[in-house]
């Protein structure tokens, strides 16, 4: 056997740049394989989940209804400085847009959009459009009307003639429109119209926060009858928080209890926790409806035991929402708590006790800090779930118990107001993400402390 067989001095060492390139090259192939594996799902999620949500959310800033419905007005109003009423050309353009629109549906959509900004705008446009139409009829039809000498028709014609006086050129377009509806003299309608031509609109986000843009461009509170969304956001937050707290209060002893049981019994108890988790939310909510309704089982028992003379309202109110939501969320609290508690060796608490700490002290100074990450994880899970609840409040809650999700759905299916739905969605998702980051920081520092 030969001894050393390597020329130790004749090393060919790679230059740093070469080395860098060689390392990168060998890593590239691996990265490509990884990418080939997770790429399809990533693309799937990006295309069918992230992109739809983002493009839907962008609708909150979408602002082309007015530009499409009133193309001439939108152009003309750019020169208006926002004080008083705009110039004749703008009135002229508006009259023309209303009279000669090739796309009446776009006008309707624009009217709805403007009406969301200033209530009454829709009726203003409808009345103006019909006024203009009548005026146009009056000027184009006199020949026909003369050929039909009919008293009724003359009478009808007379009223049309009244308004057509303006249309026939007795006044400027401005006078004409104001004579049809005097609201055209008010600045706020024109200001709303001009806001409707902005590239993007803050309208929906502001509305979702009970705010609006004032005519001078500043931001002010919405009119009191439209201030509903801050209360709604607060309610969503509050209900989730209460459900989270109840879940902690109920979940903690359960998880603690199961974690102290021998394995076979612990498995059985965990099974009892898992069964509801796996059961359809609808099935569970149905069960609660059966139990809680006026003629329901719980009321039967209450009346029979004489706890109350009358049947109590247990459903279609906040109580029912809390009960059903806690029932759905509780397993998500017990699971992380249990897995953390199971991993805390009893030797820690025994060690603390052997060092002379009183039971309460052991609990608060040793056990609680050790299982805190479980509490944080469970709370995070439950709270985020709670924020998005829709089915349960819709089925067991009353009108005053509905949460953000319900209003998002309603904005679309009832009001066809995509902008508002998008704005409410943005707010909901922002709350979720902020919660996620705050609570995650909270739970991760628990480990390091």
């Amino acid at each position: 056997m030969s001894a050393t067989s390597f020329p130790a001095e004749a090393e060919q060492v790679l230059q740093p740049a070469q080395l860098h390139r060689a390392v990168k090259k060998s890593g590239r192939k691996r990265r490509l394989v990884s990418l080939a594996l997770f790429g399809p799902l990533l693309a799937f999620v990006l295309v069918f989940f992230i992109f739809p949500i983002l493009s839907f959310m962008a609708l909150a800033f979408h602002n082309d209804e007015v530009k499409t419905g009133f193309p001439l007005t939108s152009q003309a109003i750019q020169s208006w400085n926002g004080i008083g009423t705009p110039s004749e050309q703008v009135f002229e353009a508006l009259a023309q847009d209303l009279r000669e629109s090739s796309n009446p549906e776009a006008v309707t959509i624009a009217a709805a959009r403007l009406n969301f900004d200033v209530i009454g705008f829709r009726s203003l446009i409808v009345s103006t459009a019909s006024g203009l139409r009548q005026a146009a009829d009056a000027t184009s039809k006199p020949a026909q009307e003369e050929s039909v000498p009919d008293g009724f028709s003359i009478f009808g014609n007379a009223t049309a003639e009244d308004s057509s006086q303006a249309a026939a050129g007795l006044g400027t377009p401005k006078q004409q429109l104001i004579s049809i509806d005097p609201r055209w003299e008010e600045t706020r309608y024109w200001a709303a119209l001009k806001r409707g031509t902005w590239a993007v609109t803050p309208l929906y986000i502001l509305a979702a926060l009970d705010l609006r843009t004032a005519d001078d461009g500043s931001i002010e509170w919405a009119s009191p009858d439209r201030q509903i969304y801050l209360t709604l956001i607060g309610r969503t937050f509050f209900v989730s928080a209460i459900v989270t707290l109840i879940s902690i209060a109920l979940g903690f002893p359960v998880a603690r209890f199961i974690s102290t049981q021998p394995p076979s019994r612990a498995n059985l108890f965990m099974f009892l926790v898992l069964v509801p988790l796996w059961t359809s939310i609808l099935v569970r909510t149905t069960a609660w409806v059966v139990l809680l309704q006026g003629e329901g089982l719980l009321n039967d028992i209450i009346v029979k035991l004489g706890l109350s003379a009358t049947r109590l309202p247990l459903i279609h109110n906040r109580f029912g929402v809390y009960v059903a939501m806690v029932h759905i969320c509780l397993p998500f609290m017990v699971l992380p708590l249990y897995s953390v508690m199971k991993s805390v060796p009893s030797s820690y608490t025994r060690a603390a006790a052997s060092l002379g700490a009183a039971p309460l002290r052991v609990f608060f100074k040793v056990y609680l800090p050790l299982v805190f990450p479980g509490v944080a994880a469970g709370a995070l899970l439950v709270f985020i779930m709670g924020l998005g609840f829709y089915v349960t409040p819709a089925l067991v809650g009353g009108p005053r118990d509905q949460m953000l999700s319900y209003f998002i759905a309603a904005a679309i299916s009832r009001d066809l107001n995509w902008g508002l739905a998008a704005a409410l969605s943005i707010i909901l998702v922002v709350i979720v993400i902020v919660t996620l980051f705050v609570l995650r920081r909270f739970s991760s520092t628990a480990f390091t402390r």
Binding site: M1, S2, A3, T4, S5, F6, E11, Q12, V13, V23
Partner: protein, 360 residues
Amino acid sequence: MSGQFDPFLQFIDVQKAYDSTTMVVKSLNLNVANGEFLTLLGPSGSGKTTTLMMLAGFEEPTSGEIRLQGRSMNGIPPHKRGVGMVFQNYSLFPHMTVGENLAFPLQARGMNKAEQTTRIRTALDMVKLGAFADRRPGQLSGGQQQRVALARALVFEPELVLMDEPLGALDKQLRDHMQLEIKHLHDRIGVTVVYVTHDQTEALVMSDRIAVFNEGRIQQIAPPAEIYQNPETDFVAQFIGENNRIEATIKQVSGNQCQLVLKDGANVLANSPRKAEAGEARVLSVRPEMIVVGPDAHELANSYESKVREIVYLGDHVRVILGFGGIDDLSIKLTHRRAAKLSVGDHVRFGWKPEDCRAL
């Protein structure tokens, strides 16, 4: 042994880096002969496992080439290399029986059922587990699992078998036993083995040659006795076996022997494995068992006197600790009989031959 023209296995200027700043394996050149048992020995992070992984094909060299039987292995995926491998944690497929585990490589090679059966039986008999074909790995002891892993790596008769700390998970007694068993197996079937370990005893017991790795380089590659008796670097002397390490300066050189001065002024004659020059700083290496104690030491070229600081009883031998040459823990290994007359505080004469001492 190594045919100069066509070594069985060859590493040519192999380098490996995971990022552009740290080189894990630095310019490795190594030839392995057919049928050789080569051990790559070194501390963790020395590059020995990375070298093995490049050989198995789980890592690509950043530059350089590995040749097996004259064929370049660059770019050849692991499953086409035909190299057997035994892992530290056995890595038996837990959902298959022992027999199915052994059949796995044979099926991958499209072997027919009858031949599979014969091969599996031979391989299991070889590791003395003939009766265990229907058991699952979970039902076997650690030692048995390791034997199955061996049998599985050998059953398809590869030319080369790689072993990555295969005995690391076993307790000491079993490990000693398995060392010999693997050695005998190797002697019997003559397969080439590249074996990675950080355990020097394992390396000394089993290997034809040992390559000592440190910081991505081979420090020395030689048969076990050579490595132990004639370490070429301070690291090798320190890593393998017990060693007394004393700083010294070269005073005079004559041939491969030189005279050195220690910090306390004592003079020592020692061998130097490489060219020495006066004034050079070196580290003396003396094995504890090479130091003679008592009157016999008078006749040695290196002979000194010092006070016994401590006597440690270690069962099969006794360790005597002295202060000498600027260190206060010169360790001497003695039999019970020789140590019986000594007690702490005694002045004793001790010494060693120049050829038992190396200036590194």
